[in-house]
Symmetry: C2
Subunit: 252 residues, 2 copies
Amino acid sequence: MINPLENKLLNVLPLESKGRIFTDLNLIHLPLGKVIYESGQDLEFVYFPADGIISLFYITEDGHSSQISAVGSEGVVGITAFMGGGSTPYRAEVQSAGFFYRLSVTAMLNEFNLVKRVRIMLLSYTQSFIAQMAQTAACNRHHSIDQQLCRLLLLSMDRMENNDLTMTQESIANMLGVRREGVTEAAGKLQKQNVITYSRGKITVTDRKKLEKLSCECYDVVKNETDRLDASLPKLNLPRNNAPCYPKEMPI
Amino acid sequence: MINPLENKLLNVLPLESKGRIFTDLNLIHLPLGKVIYESGQDLEFVYFPADGIISLFYITEDGHSSQISAVGSEGVVGITAFMGGGSTPYRAEVQSAGFFYRLSVTAMLNEFNLVKRVRIMLLSYTQSFIAQMAQTAACNRHHSIDQQLCRLLLLSMDRMENNDLTMTQESIANMLGVRREGVTEAAGKLQKQNVITYSRGKITVTDRKKLEKLSCECYDVVKNETDRLDASLPKLNLPRNNAPCYPKEMPI
DNA sequence: CCTGATATGTGCGATGCCGAACACAGTAGT
DNA sequence: ACTACTGTGTTCGGCATCGCACATATCAGG
């Protein structure tokens, strides 16, 4: 069996929780483009990316789309499961093929309600997710396609292992909510400046520093938010004194 | 004492919770334009709007802004309090003067952790909040100023009692993240079509039906989401066993 | 090798929005 | 009544992006 990158949220799960969800947790491989949630659909599973990326899209009536977030091993897809809604208002699609841990909504919800530390962990991620959405929204509104492309590439790289990305200009256009031709132009500029090379859906970043310079502030903001979350997670996993892991639950 | 509209979330709080937070809850009046959170600031209080509106803004480095959500009596400002972050990534500003219930973050967090029903209620709202943000983000990207103005006016009306809104074209421009002149033009069109009348910061909607027709789908989506939440809240408040229903008025 | 599908490149006019500058009109203060 | 300020109306050039049409390049399969 391939040894995938672990998911950071799953990693810090208390041992007892891991034990409980064990039978409900599956490691599966999902191909590029696979749609795991359709907008408005009830959700059955949540997904913890290991070495793949899932992209969340909002789609308007007239068919235009916008990416609202990209989730890698730092997060989970399907926060709706524990947030109270039965269905997601957006589409979730595999942006980068790879392995994902799949857990049933009921098991997820059960752990969420049972263990305070699991709750804290998931809500902390949700908070980070919200911040990313806000940033993306503002970026969509105020920054050029050139800048947004840089941001997108950088964020995708951070969620991958290497400098090679698998995404066509068409798919990038859908994420940014712009025309494909706009992406062609922006990508062409980057290639001329020797920042990236690409061909038929394969993009290689050759000068990351420069890419960061050309990007808008939004990349830094999202990255800092992700790092902040990363840094706060291990604390949740410390053994406390010798008290039981999670104490007083109000049975209500 | 003025009898403000009650806040819908506070209304469905279990009686025991109401009792506990009693001493920490204040009813205060906030004037138009008052900034209650600055971006990045640690938060001390959460706010439950009674008859006012609070607007959440994201502000970019170059000074551009975008509204990411408007919160009325259906919600609460400061979800960060129970989501794990200590600071908000956005600015919160009073969009419509009025009364607000103010609660300390510690009291809020305590109830959140102690009572499952409070948690469900607040997370359900957060879910609705996220959906609104996503919608706003997509709207910013894909719809015209004209359409967005209609959406903004409708959503503001829903959160107020009447057809009169207090907002200048300048402040609207900040919310939509566009130029003031753009708003002048869009508002001028609406006035010519006898949909609204306005003068120096007072806007009166005279033909709501038409306004809805001119708006993009985004208004409907956000409204449905808000209504869905509204409808789900009472269920949380069902009397258990044969416990009595408690009065609707918060003693304060 | 040919064919069809996918991915990318390019050109063009149209347009919605921007940025700036300025004029004008209500409103408030003294 | 005068002044200062705030809110609104208007204009004009500029530009990023759009929508469309079409050309080219690369790849996959029979």
